[in-house]
């Protein structure tokens, strides 16, 4: 008989599904600003999950992590990217290589693949919310679709940040006890990556007057 999931597992599963839904919403968001807001919302969900994990598993370190991740991913990253958008007065609408409907269909297929493939692996333990783990793999795969289908630098960068959110989700679910110093280093790394993404986007904009990747096609072979 399967035991009834405890409060943590229930919350983790719910939040995981919400994170996946925001990922889908990012896929269909036409405006870059809307996409950024969705990223902030997704990061907020993760911070909440960190607090829940801290309380229910008794790992006080996770409160610090939740605070830092809130400051960085909900406040600083969206702020930096918004400033970049304003400075480059770039196209406000991102553009997909596919229509929104086909993108979403494709994303549903890969998400289902991730969900069922992870389920089939039979990774299980008494303390592990398996659904949340499978959903986090689905989030990573949908983030791949987002990065591949979009043709502007900002969408690609935000797609990468949300991929990182998918990995954070997996790590909160299966590796909540990871020492704080490592978690903080991961976040610091993300911050550096954000800055570098910004620098390169700005340089590209300075060269080609646009943030579209369609101008980046000279290197082949």
């Amino acid at each position: 008989m399967r035991p009834v999931p405890d409060a943590f597992a229930g919350t983790a599963n719910t939040i995981a599904v919400l994170v996946l839904l925001t990922e889908f919403a990012m896929l269909r968001a036409a405006l870059l600003r809307a996409q950024l807001r969705l990223y902030a919302a997704q990061s907020l969900l993760l911070s909440i999950l960190a607090v829940v994990a801290a309380a229910s598993r008794g790992i006080p370190d996770l409160y610090v992590l939740a605070g830092l991740s809130f400051a960085l991913k909900v406040v600083i990253v969206p702020m930096v990217v918004t400033r970049l958008l304003r400075e480059t007065s770039a196209e406000i609408a991102g553009s997909g290589a596919l229509g929104v409907a086909s993108e979403v269909l494709l994303a549903i297929v890969v998400a289902a693949f991730g969900l069922f493939a992870t389920g089939r692996l039979g990774i299980s333990s008494p303390v592990l919310p398996e659904t949340a783990l499978a959903v986090s793999v689905a989030v990573v795969l949908v983030a791949f679709v987002l990065i591949i289908a979009r043709r502007d630098l900002v969408s690609q960068a935000v797609g990468f940040f949300s991929l990182e959110n998918g990995v954070s989700l997996a790590s909160l679910v299966v590796a909540a006890g990871l020492p704080l110093i490592l978690e903080v280093a991961f976040l610091f790394d993300l911050l550096v990556a954000v800055v570098i993404f910004g620098v390169l986007a700005r340089v590209t904009h300075g060269r080609s007057g646009s943030l579209m990747t369609t101008s980046l096609t000279s290197l082949r072979g």
């Binding site: 598993r57 490592l182 790394d189 990556a193």
Partner: protein, 515 residues
């Protein structure tokens, strides 16, 4: 002892900090000094580490395996530091020269520092962090020339490598999960406990983590099919950066794959991890060998050669024999030196002829009395001709494969390496040895037209006329490191010194191939 580890960790970052403050002469001195110190310290670690592991605090630890990679990076850092002095001097930066110079030296030292940090740290999570830092620093260095192509290459590199490292982070998470059943819910992913836990780790998560690690870190190693950033970044980066990317960054990422390999072999037995590495290795070697046959850009040519060599490393590990593992680890060191050499020589050619197009370079050996022959020797060394070290290492890999009864992959390896040899040497020897303004023998055009290259050949003849002046080298700084590198390659080809031999044997045993 632990002071040496701390010294290696900080030397690159300290040089970068100094370069922020000092005038140009000071920047040059600091960079060269840092390179030489890093090289000296890593050589100094060789005899010590072949005796036993060293630790400093709970975060730094080296064993024989990590010292092999430190040695490769240290040697290359020293060579590149000297070369950079000549390179930056003759570079007309797009922006203000002083600013360009400072950025270059600071970035180069930061990059080398982060490359040295990766093999020093103890634990899979810290390793991931170090490798992520190498990505962000080197992406900026790729873009430093602020041209359209450099920016494009840097963006591709940053995005693809970051996504790859996202996958590698997922691998770290799954490995952590595999460990929680042995170590409890909080532990720090240090190597030794994970390897000694062996079969007690849950098998499925370890397998999953290994595949994700090969895919994720493999993105930075340049394994096919996740290699797509590599030729662009290597070709568009400034030459000293290309040399470090190719010789040290790829190897350092391969080090991460080897750490996962070690744990996977201990936990789920050797068969599964070897199959995974063999598949990626053969794909890389095959694709790179074919691309090498028809490559027009000298730096892209060398970049594809790097993919080829990473494929050789992956196949060599999959052979699972102590001799092949010895060959793989020696190959890491000699490939770093040989590829660094080849890039540095190619950089001189590019500087002298003002183009990366192989077809536009003719008579290199007369125009460059030193660098021409040196580049020729480096390319021969790189394509595993005796008496250079790469010959010895590839020979050991093939012999190990045959001895382990894996004759089919070993034969495939030899065949593909031969194809790569043809591709690599054919175009470079033509550029170097074919005279710039050869008197046309009658019927030469007809012969050229028969193999379909006449148009390219004609434009070549027209374009090579732009090189003016007699023979001469751009800078002695850009020759000296190549001479030193060739000396190292010949030394390692003729005789592997005793302490290094002990180190490689011990590191090969660590890869669990003795079983």
């Amino acid at each position: 002892m632990s002071a040496v580890l701390v010294g290696l960790l900080v030397v690159g970052f300290a040089a970068a900090a100094l370069c922020l403050l000092l005038p140009p002469a000071g920047m040059r001195a600091a960079t060269v000094a840092a390179g030489v110190v890093a090289c000296g310290l890593s050589v100094w670690l060789v005899p010590t580490a072949s005796g036993g592991d060293l630790t400093a605090g709970s975060y730094l630890r080296v064993d024989a395996l990590s010292v092999v990679f430190l040695l490769a990076t240290g040697l290359l850092y020293a060579m590149v530091a000297v070369y950079t002095v000549g390179y930056v001097e003759g570079q007309h930066g797009g922006t203000d020269m002083a600013v360009y110079q400072r950025r270059f030296y600071v970035g180069l030292n930061l990059f080398a520092g982060s490359l040295l940090a990766a093999p020093l740290v103890n634990g899979l999570a810290l390793l991931w962090i170090a490798i992520e830092i190498t990505t962000v620093v080197s992406a900026l260095l790729v873009a430093i020339d602020v041209s359209d192509t450099a920016t494009e290459a840097a963006w591709k590199y940053l995005l693809i490598a970051s996504v790859g490292l996202g996958v590698a982070l997922l691998a770290t998470v799954f490995m952590y999960y595999a460990g929680t059943q042995v170590f409890g819910s909080s532990f720090d992913l240090a190597f030794t406990p994970l390897v000694s836990a062996g079969h007690r780790l849950a098998a499925t998560p370890v397998r999953l983590a290994f595949v994700l690690a090969v895919l994720g870190f493999g993105t930075k190693v340049g394994l096919v099919p996740v290699h797509t950033w590599l030729p662009d970044a290597h070709a568009e980066a400034p030459t000293p950066v290309s040399a470090l990317l190719s010789g040290a960054l790829l190897a350092t990422s391969f080090y991460a794959v080897l750490r996962y390999y070690q744990i996977a072999v201990a936990a789920v037995g050797p068969t599964f991890p070897r199959r995974v590495l063999l598949a990626f290795g053969v794909a890389s070697l095959l694709l790179a060998a074919l691309y090498l046959l028809d490559q027009r850009d000298i730096k892209r040519l060398l970049a594809y050669s790097s993919i080829e060599h990473m494929g050789i490393l992956a196949i060599g590990v999959s052979f699972a024999s102590p001799l092949a593992a010895f060959g793989v680890l020696l190959h890491v060191v000699v490939h770093a030196v040989a590829k660094g050499n080849a890039f540095m020589g190619a950089g001189v050619v590019v500087r002298r002829f003002g183009t990366k197009e192989l077809a536009a370079v003719r008579g290199g050996i007369t125009a460059l009395p030193w660098s021409g022959p040196l580049l020729l020797a480096s390319v021969l060394a790189l394509s595993a001709s005796p008496p250079f070290g790469v010959f010895r290492s590839e020979f050991a890999i093939v012999a190990g494969g045959l001895a382990a009864g894996r004759s089919a992959p070993a034969a495939l390896l030899v065949a593909l390496v031969t194809v790569a040899f043809v591709g690599l040497t054919w175009s470079t020897t033509r550029s170097l040895l074919e005279p710039a303004d050869a008197p046309e023998p009658p019927g030469a055009w007809a012969g050229a037209a028969a193999d379909g290259t006449s148009a390219a050949f004609r434009t070549t003849v027209a374009r090579t006329a732009t090189v003016t002046g007699g023979p001469g080298e751009p800078s002695a700084w850009m020759v000296a490191p190549v001479v030193a590198g060739l000396a190292v390659l010949v030394l390692l080809g003729v005789h592997v010194p005793g302490p290094l031999n002990d180190l490689l044997v011990r590191a090969a045993a660590q890869l669990g191939t003795g079983s």
